[in-house]
Structures are given as C-alpha cells and as structure tokens.
Symmetry: C2
Subunit: 272 residues, 2 copies
C-alpha cells in the first residue's frame, strides 16, 4: 500500500541481493524507487544498471555515495578523491539519480584536527560542484550522527550542512536520515530552514540498546525515533520525494530478503 | 607533575577500588581532587566519606550524579526522582563538592517524545533548584553525547545546556566532558558563551573504533580528541577548576588501579 511512496536503498539487503535482484524485487513489490550503491552499479555495469532500472520503471532517489574527501593522504590522495567523486557524479547522471548522496569523510589520516577536516570537505565540495552542476546532479550533503565524526563524517548536524549549502550555492542540498538527526534539539528549526533543499529523506530507527555504532540500525517502528513527526516536518518544508528505507544492520542482513523488503513496506505505511 | 591540577573521577577505577581506596590513592599520588559517585559514598557513609576526603586534603570537583528526571513512571515516579535529587544535593553539600553533576535522563519509559522528556528535565531542574541554592550546591548540567539521547540524556549539546541554564538562572551551570562535545561544530562559540558557568571539566578520549556506546572511553591521548585545544578554550572562558579524569571503560577496569591512576596523571600532563 505504501510501496508507491517508497524507495529501497540497496544496502538494506546488501548481503542477500545483487543490484539486479534488488531491481527485480522492487518491480515485483511495486516499490517506486531504488537507491543503489556504487559497488553494485560497478558490478553490473553502469549502462546495464541504468537500463534495467529504467525498464523496471523505478525512480532513482539517490546514488550512494560520494564524499570521503578526507580519506586520502597528500595531494595525490586529495586528487584521487576528487576524481572518484567526479566519476560518481557521472554515474549518478547516467542512472538519472535525483541526487548524489555525500558522506563527506571523518578526520584526515593521523590527524585530530576537526577544522582541517572540515576545510578539506568544503574545498572538495567546491572543487566538484561545477562538474555536478554541468551534469545536472545535485549534491545531497548528508549530516551523519556525531558518533561517526571521527571516521565517517565531520558533518554532524543539519544546521552545519545547511551552512555549507549556503556557502556552496546552487547545486547543493541535503540528504536527511532520521537516524542521524533525530536527537538534535535544533532539528525542527533546521528542517524549516532547509525547505526544498532537502533532496532525499532516509528512514530507519534507533534501537535501545544500540550495540554497534554503524551496523545496528533498526527497522522503522522497532526503535524510538518519531519518524512520522519528522516525515511530516520534512513534507511541510516542501519535500515531495520518496521515503527511502536504508537499514545497515547485521541482524537484518541475516534474514530472507523478501521478508525484509515486505517488512520495510509495511513499516513505511505504519510509521511514515 | 600534573597531579596537583587533576581530579580523579572514581568511576575510572570503579571495578578495582572502593571510595576509601580511591581517597588513599589520591593522597598517595598527590592528586588534588576527587569526584566520587553516590553509590561509593553510600557504601562508606556520607559523613565518614566527607571526613576522609577532608583529612586527605582533597578537593571535591563534583558529586556524580543527580538527574534522571525522566526515569520514573507517573506522579510517584517523578516525585521519587525529585526526592532522590534533593538527597544528592544534601550529600554534595556534606562532601563540600563544588557541584552536583546532572545527567538529566533519556526518553521517558514507553515514550518516543523528546519534547516531553525535555520538558520533564526542565521541570525537574526547576523543582530542585531552590533546594540546591539553599544548600549552596551548584547544579552542573552535563550535555551527553547524542548517542546516549534515548537512554541517558536528552540534553545533547553545550548550547542546549546553556539555553537551559539561561532559563534556570542562578545556581545552574554546566559540566563539560570533552568526550560528549568534541564533535560539535558550535563548540568553541558555546564555550565562550558559557564563560564561568563551566563548573566542571572532564576528560577522556574518543577511540577509533568505538565498540560500546557507554563503556569504551579512552585514556587521554589514545583517541582523536584535541583535548588540550578544548582545555585551553575552557581556561580562556574563565574556568579555574581541576581537570577531572573520568574513563568508563571495560578495558581500563581490568587493569591494575595504580597503573591506571599513574597513566591518568601522565596523560593529563601530556594532553591537558
């Protein structure tokens, strides 16, 4: 019933299904959209993946992911990150993705300096933005939960992401995942501020207890996030895209993929 | 060499030492202060603990902890939390603690509503503040890392804590633990805003990877936090108190207590 409002992020069943199988499953379940990861796209071949997704009538709510500007060492490392991001933009364009989701990177190797890492993120985004604009692929900056600041994203809050969008200008927006931002006392105000710059809306849930800082995300409804309340705020701000279910979970990866997907559809209906 | 600037939070060696043993160790190592937990104080008896700490010449940089306003169910549960907090204030006064550290509580039982939890925290603080003022015990609101929002503290950032202090007025300040706030893009500005309302300064470190959301804190220097930089900002804001080492860590709890304490002293010298 809610499949027509939903997009399946392929990471949700990444241990069970190839991209090809995900596309088929989305078609079979009547799911409106898909959000593939680049490794799956590469394994299938970008042209073949684009054709299969188009043939299945699926929207591409995002490509996961660009970013990681801080990972490389030295000038060569920085250049490699920029090159890789430009390739990601080209892939997103080929897939007709509505955005490229950007996980911007944590601290630089052997560095504790947050300001250096943040500057590298901003410089990296500035450097690839012309390519993204030319390709017609908006960059969706995703603030990640502060517990991932050291190793995944020094971009931690929606407010910080919007400050960066302000600096970047046209072609930059945000990807909002309830898992990363639900705790933020400033969330409602920043969603209003974001308005139509929200390019993607991701859902999963915060489990109590949470036993892994990356791979213990919950199925919507199994945790404590008021997903519908956030969804309603995002809609009120002007977001008209799909609700993308992205669950990185050792537990759900052990389960039958069709069961996982059917559960996602039910939960989006119940909680979004 | 840095022991005279340091306070030992007894949780750092809670699996190895009683409060009595912690007091003796602080005296033996020349550590300037101690920050006991209430269970240890209760086990020893508050008067006996107060006398022993005084006889050892130790400052009490805080009593851990008050708060948890959201834990109880119904009116009786709320009242029990207030009563317990008033007892904590009395104990802090008896110990001559420079503040009562407040871990304010997570979501209420069976509730996902953050605004309800935040309101209960504020109401609870308002209710006990007159008792705290009368006892001369400042309440040190401790923002906790957002990964503890569901189960420990809906108070997540220094800015949010200071907003609450503004609402509470005299007798309320903050306890700043680098572990909880190091990731915050607004940290420097909020430290300046806090000024002399910083009542306690706690250090440990953020490990990469972090394997437990509560009990995997690192020894200063073993992780990625720029502790000295934050320390310098706190000092510049006007803080003149001790640097309290609080390490909740399954790993450090398995080690010889004297070794742990000696390492703390060395690391405070090197990183604070």
């Amino acid at each position: 019933m809610s499949a027509h409002l939903m997009s399946l992020n392929t990471a949700t069943v990444r241990e069970q299904m190839s991209l090809r199988q995900c596309i088929d499953a989305c078609a079979r379940f009547g799911i409106a959209g898909i959000s593939p990861w680049r490794d799956g796209v590469a394994a299938m071949g970008v042209d073949k993946a684009a054709r299969a997704i188009r043939d299945a009538g699926l929207a591409v709510s995002g490509l996961c992911r660009g970013g990681m500007f801080t990972a490389g060492v030295g000038a060569a490392g920085r250049q490699a990150a920029l090159d890789d991001n430009r390739r990601a933009i080209d892939e997103a364009a080929a897939l007709g993705a509505s955005c490229l989701v950007m996980v911007c990177g944590g601290l630089a190797p052997d560095s504790k300096d947050l300001s250096v890492a943040r500057a590298r993120v901003q410089d990296g985004l500035m450097a690839i933005l012309p390519h993204a604009r030319a390709a017609g692929v908006p960059l969706a900056l995703e603030p990640l939960h502060p517990m991932t600041c050291a190793d995944r994203s020094v971009l931690s809050t929606l407010g910080q992401a919007l400050d960066l969008c302000d600096a970047l200008g046209e072609g930059a927006g945000v990807a909002l995942d309830v898992y990363h931002v639900w705790w933020d006392p400033d969330l409602s105000a920043q969603i209003r501020r974001a308005g139509t710059r929200i390019l993607a809306f991701h859902v999963c849930d915060w489990l109590m207890p949470t036993t892994d800082t990356v791979f213990d995300r919950g199925m919507p409804g199994d945790g404590v996030i008021e997903i519908r309340a956030i969804h309603d705020q995002v809609t009120a701000a002007g977001y008209r895209g799909l609700t993308e279910v992205e669950i990185l979970s050792h537990a759900w990866w052990t389960r039958d993929a069709d069961h996982v997907i059917a559960t996602c559809i039910d939960r989006v209906a119940a909680y979004c």
